[in-house]
């Protein structure tokens, strides 16, 4: 029975090629729009996550602090608990980077700017180097001891160019003043608006200014073989190192403003810091850092979904009207089929199947169109737009619409089409064979 319904429906769809093409085209356009929005936002989130992880030097970040008489000293030691955790997650860890960091005043002539500076071992940070978008200078001599890679906006604030020397005024870990001289090797595209604006120097040189030994470090960052394991690995390290699990955005919504700021940014707006013994660790994952970004992208997704639903409603009105016309056009035909013994249910099913074929075909075409467009756009290099680089993968747009999203959108289209065609289908089924055959239409 189904094959008969399918055969008649397919023939009917094929009979009015132009009308079917327009209707399926509208559905295809809706499908294309929502899939491209999903794909683009998915790709952007993936790229930001990868670029963030390269800039920050990992997927899981472990830092430590020690309470000393002179104050808090940021430092990591190879404690047993940490070593055990590293051994436990050995298979999940692709590589490890070790960094120092400071917030010095960078000085050039009479100008100065505060800037986060990471001390990195460039020989183990090839991912970082490959992710940087150089706007001036080059990364060739970056391994020289006293060089700095500077964000472009900071360089503009200081009025410095690649090849010139800037002073770096900072405090050692025990709070003594120190100053270094570094040559600007390269200027890189700044990501300040996305929460990352860092300059990079050689770790051993930064350590010498901070009063650390060359091999010491303040943060241990882990690149995982699978970035999706970041939360699980982070949780494991927190448990092993006695670090409390972090609050989520959902928890923060319940907090007052001050509490939320403290949780989000780790700010110690407390009256007095209680001294502690040994090293106090802090474990952060890339997903925690990405939470605000994902929240912003979810807004985009919601807007995309709203547009999609509006397009679907418009298309649904079109489908209803078209099927009402079809009903009028085929009144006699329906009467004849009913006279030959076709049941009411089958007449209804033929209408509904036609709607399904149109919407299913439209959705398929929309998805294919998404594939073609994403393939073409993915081939274009956007290197001339440095501000966009943080959203891109090596200068190229990537699309990542998940199967769940595609299936959900297709189901929405099919359901909407069935709903829109339901009323004309019911009306067609209820037609009296005698009246239908005697109709002048």
């Amino acid at each position: 029975m189904l094959s008969v319904v399918l055969k008649i429906s397919a023939r009917n769809v094929w009979r009015q090629k132009k009308r079917s093409f327009l209707l399926a085209g509208a559905i295809a356009f809706s499908m294309f729009v929502i899939t491209i929005v999903n794909g683009l936002t998915g790709g952007v989130v993936d790229n930001i996550r990868v670029n963030f992880s390269h800039a920050l030097g990992g997927h899981v970040f472990i830092s430590g602090s020690e309470y000393r008489e002179q104050g808090i000293v940021y430092l990591i030691a190879d404690e047993q608990a940490l070593l055990d955790s590293l051994a436990h997650y050995e298979t999940s860890i692709e590589s490890i980077t070790r960094r120092s960091q400071a917030m010095p005043s960078l000085i050039f002539g009479s100008r100065q700017a505060m800037q986060l500076v990471y001390g990195v071992d460039f020989s183990e940070e090839d991912k970082l180097l490959s992710s940087l978008v150089v706007t001036q200078g080059s990364l060739e001599r970056v391994t020289d001891e006293q060089t700095i890679i500077l964000p472009r906006t900071v360089a503009e604030r200081l009025g410095v160019e690649a090849g010139e020397t800037v002073l770096m005024r900072l405090d050692t870990i025990t709070g003594q003043r120190n100053v270094g001289e570094v040559i600007v090797a390269a200027l890189i595209e700044d990501q300040e608006r996305y929460g990352i604006s860092a300059a990079y120097v050689n770790r051993s040189y930064l350590n010498s200014l901070l009063g650390l030994r060359p091999e010491e470090y303040q943060a241990l960052n882990l690149f995982l073989t699978n970035m999706d394991d970041a939360d699980e690995v982070g949780r494991g390290f927190r448990e092993a190192l006695g670090v409390p699990q972090p609050a989520t955005l959902a928890d923060i919504k319940e907090m007052d403003e001050e509490e939320a700021v403290r949780e989000l940014f780790g700010m110690a707006r407390v009256e007095e810091i209680e001294p502690w013994e040994g090293i106090k660790y802090q474990v952060t994952t890339i997903n925690q850092i990405m939470e605000p970004v994902e929240a912003a992208v979810n807004v985009l997704r919601t807007i995309g979904l709203a547009i999609f639903i509006i397009l679907l409603v418009i298309t649904a009105v079109g489908i209803t009207n078209t099927f009402r016309m079809i009903l009028i056009e085929r009144t006699k035909e329906i009467g004849t089929m009913r006279a030959f013994g076709m049941q009411q249910g089958m007449v209804r099913n033929i209408f509904l199947m036609e709607a399904l074929l149109l919407s299913g075909g439209g959705a398929l075409v929309g998805f294919v169109l998404y594939g073609v467009v994403s393939l073409v756009l993915g081939q274009i290099s956007w290197d001339t737009m440095p501000a966009m680089q943080f959203f891109l993968d090596q200068g190229r747009i990537t699309f990542d619409a998940t199967a769940r999203e595609v299936v959900l959108n297709t189901c929405l289209i099919l359901a909407m089409s069935l709903l829109a065609a339901n009323f004309p289908a019911k009306a067609a089924a209820k037609l009296s064979p005698v009246k239908a055959m005697s109709s002048n239409l």
Partner: protein, 253 residues
């Protein structure tokens, strides 16, 4: 040739034997430093003054900060209450022994800070408003005698004994008469000059002295300096509650 060698050997032997005789007696300078510290300490009297700070910043231009200064060295306490500019009015610093608190009336919070930190982004440090501790914080490495203007001075090279002071190395110009520090130079851990200080005038307070004019020059940022002038100096006894957090909160309203 042999004669020349003999002369050289004799000169060397004489030089070596004379070295201990020529070695400088650093204990003299250690005594001078103790006197410098002692006369910056006012155990028997409270001090009140109005501090005007003129900050010259090549980027920001000129800025003026007016601060009411209360000090009681018996118990290592001071209170700095900002009166100008309007945007910072009510902010204050309270030193209670080893603890230095910063109070911001907008958040009504006390935050822990340090004597090593700079005062409100100026070239002055919070420690500049407290008693001097050169003799305990530094050891004398070398000294020289010279003149600064018309004043005969000791020019003293210091090295910090531990990492409690922000500048690990310092150089002082101290008058031979009166033991007044007229000029300072402070150096980073890698011995780069970071800050210079000039103290051209002093006022007598009890048995000690208080600089009434201080000029701090940022030696890294071209053209950046801070000039501090103390006026309305008084040694009248202050109520005990002045050096409390409650007073700072009340005064900030």
């Amino acid at each position: 040739m042999r004669k020349l060698m003999s002369v050289l050997i004799v000169v060397l032997i004489l030089g070596c034997s004379a070295a201990p005789v020529l070695a400088k007696d650093l204990s003299i300078i250690e005594e001078v430093l103790k006197k410098v510290d002692e006369q910056s300490y006012f155990p028997d009297t409270d001090v009140t003054a109005l501090m005007s700070m003129i900050i010259e910043d090549p980027e920001e231009g000129l800025e003026k900060i007016v601060v009411r200064y209360f000090r009681r060295d018996d118990g290592e306490r001071f209170l700095l209450l900002i009166e100008e500019p309007q945007t910072q009015k009510g902010q204050g610093y309270l030193l209670e022994g080893d603890n230095l608190w910063f109070y911001d009336p907008s958040s009504r919070k006390f935050m822990h800070t340090s004597l090593k930190e700079s005062f409100q982004g100026t070239d002055a440090r919070n420690a500049d408003f407290s008693q001097l501790t050169y003799s305990s914080s530094y050891k004398v490495v070398d000294y020289d005698e010279g003149k600064l203007g018309n004043f005969p001075v000791y020019i003293v090279d210091l090295e910090a004994v531990d990492d409690r002071v922000p500048y690990p190395y310092a150089k002082l110009w101290i008058t031979k008469e009166g033991n007044l520090v007229l000029r300072t130079q402070e150096f980073s851990l890698n011995k780069r000059l970071m800050r210079s200080g000039l103290f051209p005038s002093y006022a007598r307070v009890g048995n000690g002295v208080l600089p009434t004019q201080m000029i701090f020059i940022d030696e890294l940022v071209e053209g950046k300096k801070t000039q501090i002038t103390l006026t309305e100096i008084s040694t009248a006894k202050l109520p005990d509650n002045v050096f409390t957090r409650a007073f700072l909160e009340r005064a900030s309203r």
